[in-house]
């Protein structure tokens, strides 16, 4: 049961990442692209955690935590750049 559920949820997350990639490419404005990139970070965290469950390995947890932190910091930095024209004033 767990194998089938893992395969189905990996497929659904892959479809979600493809939809985000469409919004990154097409998105008419800059905040759209930043939002789609942020969503891609979140979905890739879930994919890495799923891969860790698949292999039964705990090492991938740290990669997911790193991606979470870097994704948040980069989103806030790019938004700050759009707001102020500068990141650190």
């Amino acid at each position: 049961m767990l194998d089938v559920a893992l395969k189905i949820s990996v497929a659904l997350f892959a479809i979600a990442i493809v939809l985000n990639l469409y919004r990154v490419t097409v998105g008419p404005s800059l905040p759209d692209r930043i939002l789609a990139l942020d969503t891609m970070y979140v979905n890739s965290i879930a994919l890495i955690v799923l891969f860790g469950i698949w292999l039964g390995d705990r090492t991938y947890f740290e990669a997911a935590l790193l991606i979470a932190m870097l994704g948040f910091v980069s989103t806030v930095a790019v938004c700050k750049y759009l707001l102020r024209g500068d990141i650190i004033e």
Partner: protein, 132 residues
């Protein structure tokens, strides 16, 4: 004991399927909505909930594998649940700053859209008064 393992496997499978469906609905909203302010809703709420469900499944799985509680994935969950509203707030502020186009049926007028001429008038005397 076998029944417990089967039950927990069902719980993990339910969390995995529910989380991936939530994340897919959030990304579908990001793709299909008309307006940036509408598109912000899907990823900032529903995708975060989906990833939270997947991390809950991971917590359950590794707790069952270890035979004790393994709560390290809870760190990612708490971090995501704290940072998702902050990044959504920053994104909406930058969209209001850029004055992105919105759906004409949207009600209300945010104050970033109203003050076009008054800002330049108000900022000039402040700059003079702050000079030593």
């Amino acid at each position: 004991m076998i029944a417990l393992y089967t039950l927990m496997e069902g719980v993990i499978a339910f969390f995995l399927i529910a989380g991936s469906i939530f994340a897919l609905i959030g990304s579908l909203g990001l793709t299909r909505m008309k307006d940036f302010y509408m598109r912000l809703h899907g990823p900032s709420k529903i995708s975060t909930l989906g990833v939270g469900c997947v991390l809950l499944a991971s917590i359950t799985y590794f707790s069952l594998l270890d035979g004790g509680p393994s709560l390290r994935e809870l760190l990612i969950t708490i971090f995501l649940f704290i940072t998702a509203p902050v990044s959504a707030h920053m994104l909406s502020k930058s969209a209001l700053h850029q004055k992105l186009a919105r759906d004409p049926r949207t009600r209300g007028e945010p104050k970033e859209f109203q003050e076009d001429d008054e800002q330049t008038v108000e900022e000039a005397p402040q700059g003079d008064s702050k000079l030593p």
